[in-house]
């Protein structure tokens, strides 16, 4: 499947559970502030390069990790 195809964002995240994803948002549900569909622009193990790319991109993009879990052996205390 082409990385330029508009797809449900949940499906994109499901395919890349341990990577950072830069997604160009095609549809944002403003009632919930939830991105619904988009195009995968880039994916990487670390976020830094995608952050630089996101900052340069025109239009609405979404930077997200593939899953909402912490790496194995980690816990969070923000």
């Amino acid at each position: 499947m082409s990385v330029r195809t508009i797809q449900p964002i949940a499906a994109i995240r499901h395919r890349h559970p341990r990577e950072w994803l830069l997604i160009e948002v095609a549809r944002l549900d403003r009632r919930t502030t939830t991105p619904v569909t988009g195009r995968l622009v880039a994916h990487a193990k670390r976020p830094e390069r995608l952050e630089r790319q996101a900052a340069r991109t025109k239009g609405l993009v979404y930077l997200v990790f593939g899953s909402d879990t912490l790496p194995k052996g980690y816990a969070a205390a923000f």
Binding site: T32, T33, A55, L63, D68, T69, Y74, A76, F78
Partner: protein
């Protein structure tokens, strides 16, 4: 009549409560995944996001002593045009500029200065987050 409550799914098995947040500035918008954090005084966003939407956070501008788990650091504080989450928008909201470690699956924290505009009910037993106008 006040706006109705909004109900969102809440997964009690996740290690944090993720929420999509749209930050608005003079040069655009950025959408990132944050964690809902009732222990955070302010919403926290990474430097690149604040720069991308038109701000130049620096220690020479407005800043705040930021007490984190294990450290106290001075961090820039930026008042953004708007913070949107759960389908609601809070205008002119202060945001602390801070980069979370790369190991974190979220890039920011949605803090009390956003949440206190609403009643937020975290019902873990029924797996629902209910956001109601105050």
């Amino acid at each position: 009549m006040p706006p109705p409550s909004k109900v969102f799914p809440l997964d009690p098995t996740k290690p944090l409560i993720p929420v999509d947040v749209l930050l608005e500035g003079p040069q655009g918008q950025q959408l990132i995944r944050m964690a809902l954090d009732t222990g955070a005084t302010y919403t926290i966003a990474p430097r690149w996001v604040l720069q991308a939407i038109g701000y130049q956070p620096s220690a020479t501008g407005q800043s705040i002593e930021f007490i984190a788990a294990g450290s106290v650091e001075r961090k820039p504080l930026v008042t953004v045009h708007g913070v949107c989450a759960f389908g609601v928008r809070v205008a002119k909201s202060p945001v602390v500029c801070h980069d979370l470690p790369a190991q974190s699956p979220v890039r920011g924290l949605l803090g009390l200065n956003f949440l206190r505009h609403f009643n937020v009910h975290l019902n873990f037993l029924s797996r629902r987050l209910v956001l109601s106008p105050r």
